[in-house]
């Protein structure tokens, strides 16, 4: 019954998407934007026929991810087991970093920073995109490293006229720009976007501040959680105590790889591990709220996953602040950049944003612990989404 409800919830959401905004023109959930998908190596490749599960094993690339054209749990990719296990081990190192643990009693979380090796124009794959703004009065405000979701981006570098240089040098400690982090889903449009609000000299707009990758969407999040709660996963070898799939995290990460071919993403791996445990432990919302557990985790009522810091859901890194979009307070984080920093990093501002702030700007997936009821099991515990090792 729970699985049927989940499936109905997904279908209902798919049809509702057009009215909540952004859905009519968005690619179907799970498809790869611009025909490009991640493969296990973290590079992009062209999209093959979405039904060619066999081909993907040979080409090592793409596939549309499950659910695009097929039903939930109907398409599993053939994956290189060893490569996926190695990738999952890297993801586990991140998720269980004692300094930045991903599984909390009331949330799952990860940083906005991309996993190592992602090309500049592909940065922003963790349900969080980021870019830089330079605001120098002689030049005006300019946006750098803003992706278009199709493999392009605005120039990451900025050059300066003598006049701009003089302005920046006049007071090197003045704020001259910003790194912007956004979790505003690509398929969600709020009631109102106040264009009179300026962020580092740039008027607030969906064109600039909304996420662009189709995978950074409410639809994708909802589908991912649904899949990971619902879909059967490979079972570990009961006769081999050393089988890595005995590990709860690895099992969920592996499932994500089979369903979406994205073991290189922190977000997908962590969400699937936590959601997978919810599924294994027979969890659902304790009361009928009209939404499914998956929809609830995917922030059905919000603009996107809320942003925070490692020290707390609303404790941002030094020099950073929230900016509001309509009534949503926690989906835009703006971190000030001084004139000195702009000058020092003019050739690669987006990299600067990644290195200086992205590791400390954290995407939260709130888990309403009190609202979740689980059938349980010996290994489940009271909070099964708090995956442990």
């Amino acid at each position: 019954m729970r699985h049927a409800l989940a499936l109905l919830g997904t279908l209902a959401l798919a049809s509702a998407c057009g009215t909540s905004g952004g859905g009519d023109d968005s690619p179907p959930a799970g498809d790869c934007a611009g025909g490009k998908c991640d493969d296990a190596d973290g590079t992009t490749g062209a999209l093959d026929d979405a039904s060619s599960g066999d081909d993907s094993a040979e080409s090592g690339s793409s596939g549309g991810g499950s659910g695009g054209l097929l039903g939930l749990c109907e398409e599993y990719f053939e994956v290189d087991r060893d490569a996926v296990l190695a990738a999952c081990e890297d993801r586990a190192d991140t998720a269980f970093d004692p300094n930045r643990s991903s599984f909390q009693a009331d949330a799952m979380r990860w940083s906005c920073a991309d996993t190592p090796g992602r090309e500049s124009a592909d940065r922003g794959q963790e349900y969080c995109e980021y870019f830089a703004i330079v605001d120098v009065p002689p030049l005006g405000a300019s946006v750098h490293g803003l992706v278009d979701g199709q493999g392009g981006q605005t120039p990451p570098a900025v050059g300066f006229s003598d006049e701009a240089l003089a302005y920046l040098e006049e007071d090197p400690q003045r704020t001259a720009g910003a790194c912007v982090f956004t979790t505003w889903n690509s398929d969600v449009m709020p009631e109102a976007v106040d264009a009179t609000t300026e962020i580092a000299g740039v008027p607030l707009s969906a064109e600039i501040f909304q996420m662009k990758f189709a995978v950074n969407s409410r639809d994708a999040a909802d589908l991912l959680v649904d899949e990971c709660v619902t879909c059967p996963r490979v079972t570990p070898d009961a006769d081999d105590p050393n089988d890595p799939l005995h590990d709860d995290f690895t099992r969920g990460c592996f499932l994500n790889a089979e369903l979406n071919e994205t073991p290189d993403r922190k977000s997908d791996s962590i969400l699937c591990a936590g959601a997978g445990r919810l599924g294994e432990c027979g969890c659902d919302l304790a009361e009928d709220t009209g939404t499914t557990l998956a929809q609830h985790l995917a922030v059905a009522e919000g603009l996107g996953f809320p942003l925070g810091g490692w020290n707390g859901r609303q404790e941002l890194p030094q020099g950073c602040r929230y900016e509001t979009v309509d009534t949503y307070r926690h989906n835009l984080v703006v971190c000030d950049v001084t004139a000195s920093e702009v000058l020092a990093n003019a050739g690669e501002l987006k990299t600067f944003c990644n290195e200086r702030f992205a590791d400390d700007v954290v995407v939260y997936v709130p888990v309403p612990g009190d609202a979740v009821a689980c059938e349980g099991g010996k290994s489940c515990g009271a909070t099964p989404w708090m995956v442990e090792r």
């Binding site: 090796g117 090197p172 400690q173 030094q318 020092a344 050739g347 590791d359």
Partner: protein, 457 residues
């Protein structure tokens, strides 16, 4: 000796425009007693900075020898504001506490564009007096041609030997080492104890102040000391930072393997030449088997030096290829290259700035003078003379001319090789080698596990 009358104090602070000097002059009595105690001093300066007391933070490090030192910052939520004044409490084991009688402060003087240093000490009449710009501070905080700068040995996660709770799990910060120093001053100072991860941006802001002050003098007439202050950091490392593996994760800051200016300059010169390594900020080594195998305090190029070079690039004193041609020499050794520094020191005695030149023009000329042996081997504007490891100018003969794309490939292979068990062993050996180089020029080298100064050449 602390001044004991107002006139002496006035004379000592003549021309000081920093906030600490202003506060001292406004609060000292006729006998030059500045404050009754350290707490009043720190709190008073904080109010003078217009900082909310609730935003004062204290950071603790196990300094050399392993004993806790506390650093206090005001307005800690905004790193550039916090970098205006820093207060230091040293450990005092015989007191069983931090030393409240010998507090130090560093304060940015916006008029002089440098840090002023103050040592507060017991006044003969009771309370605290102050000594301005004591010499002993300079020995640890002045490096080569760099002006006095606040320092933080390890400026990347895991900030080894710093207290990093609650944000992060501390590494090699032994609480039991700090226990003997916990008295009233410790209790007062650490009521605002915060993670050292929050101190890092403040130190970066401090370094930015010093760097900006130096680079903005490039339009002045050329004087040898000014020109050398601009150019020497490109070739010689007089100050070091350090990086450690994050606990037992195998994750290690990329700067241990590759100078960060390579990526920055290549991004300007030819972004298409940059391979996937350019977007990575860390190496991923196989996990260490035990603590003895872990990489702790591996020397890297200091933030101060890197930013000094980046400033030359952003102000067009040097072109991206100029930077890359230096970095390509002994490129597998990102810090403390005997080759790069030998080129500079060999050429310097034979150089004089042209009459009526600006510091910019003279810096450019000095660079070209130093790099003449390299330039003689290059015919194309877009090539470098690259050699992975070399210790002397004579070894330049073995260097090869590479395009940026070719060098990029070599870099990728090198980094791949380091992310292996053999690579870990190599980096472990580098801890000793680089510590020796750093130890020879930088007295602030931390106490490095396993480092044996007796084995240094």
């Amino acid at each position: 000796m602390v001044p004991t009358d107002a006139a002496s104090l006035q004379a000592a602070l003549q021309g000081h425009a920093d906030p600490v000097a202003q506060w001292i002059l406004g609060n000292a009595d006729a006998d030059a007693v500045v404050s009754s105690d350290a707490a009043s001093l720190v709190e008073g300066v904080g109010l003078a900075l217009d900082c909310d007391p609730a935003l004062r933070e204290t950071y603790v490090v196990l300094s050399n020898p392993l004993a806790p030192k506390a650093v206090v910052a005001h307005c800690a939520d905004v790193p550039t504001d916090a970098s205006r004044v820093l207060t230091i409490f040293e450990p005092q084991p015989e007191l069983g506490d931090l030393d409240a009688d010998h507090v130090r402060m560093a304060a940015w003087d916006p008029a002089a564009e440098r840090y002023r240093r103050y040592q507060f000490a017991p006044h003969p009449d009771g309370g605290l007096g102050v000594v301005s710009e004591p010499e002993f501070c300079a020995s640890c905080h002045t490096f080569g041609e760099h002006a006095w700068t606040p320092i933080m040995n390890e400026m990347t996660n895991p900030w080894t030997r710093w207290h990093t709770e609650p944000d992060f799990t501390s590494l090699l910060f032994d609480e039991s080492v700090a226990d003997p120093y916990r008295g009233p001053t410790w209790d007062w100072a650490t009521q605002t104890l915060a993670s050292a991860s929050r101190f890092e941006p403040i130190i970066r802001a401090s370094a930015a102040r010093v760097t900006e002050a130096t680079i903005q003098r490039r339009t002045e007439p050329a004087r040898p000391d000014l020109v050398e202050a601009l150019v020497r950091p490109v070739f010689c490392d007089d100050t070091y930072n350090f990086a450690s593996e994050s606990h037992d994760s195998g994750e290690l800051d990329m700067n241990v393997a590759l100078d960060p200016m390579i990526r920055r300059a290549m991004g300007f010169a030819d972004p298409d030449a940059l391979g996937p390594w350019a977007v990575r900020d860390s190496l991923k080594l196989p996990a260490p088997g035990d603590e003895a195998s872990a990489i702790r305090f591996l020397a890297v190029r200091s933030t101060l030096t890197v930013e000094a070079e980046a400033a030359l690039l952003s102000r067009n004193v040097l072109e991206p290829m100029d930077v890359l041609r230096v970095r390509a020499l002994d490129w597998m050794r990102p810090v403390g290259s005997p080759l790069r520094c030998a080129l500079y020191e060999d050429a310097l005695p034979r150089w004089q700035p042209a009459t009526d030149a600006t510091a910019t023009d003279a810096a450019r000329a000095l660079y070209e003078h130093v790099m003449a042996p390299v330039a003689a081997r290059l015919d194309d504007d877009d090539t470098v003379l690259a050699i992975g490891e070399a210790s002397s100018i004579a070894e330049l003969d073995a260097a090869e001319v590479l395009t940026l794309a070719q060098w990029d490939g070599a870099i990728a292979s090198h980094l791949e090789g380091l992310e292996t068990d053999a690579g870990r062993s190599r980096l472990r050996a580098e801890v000793q080698a680089r510590a020796c180089t750093a130890w020879a020029v930088d007295p602030t080298v931390p106490k490095i596990p396993g480092f044996e100064p007796g084995r240094c050449p």
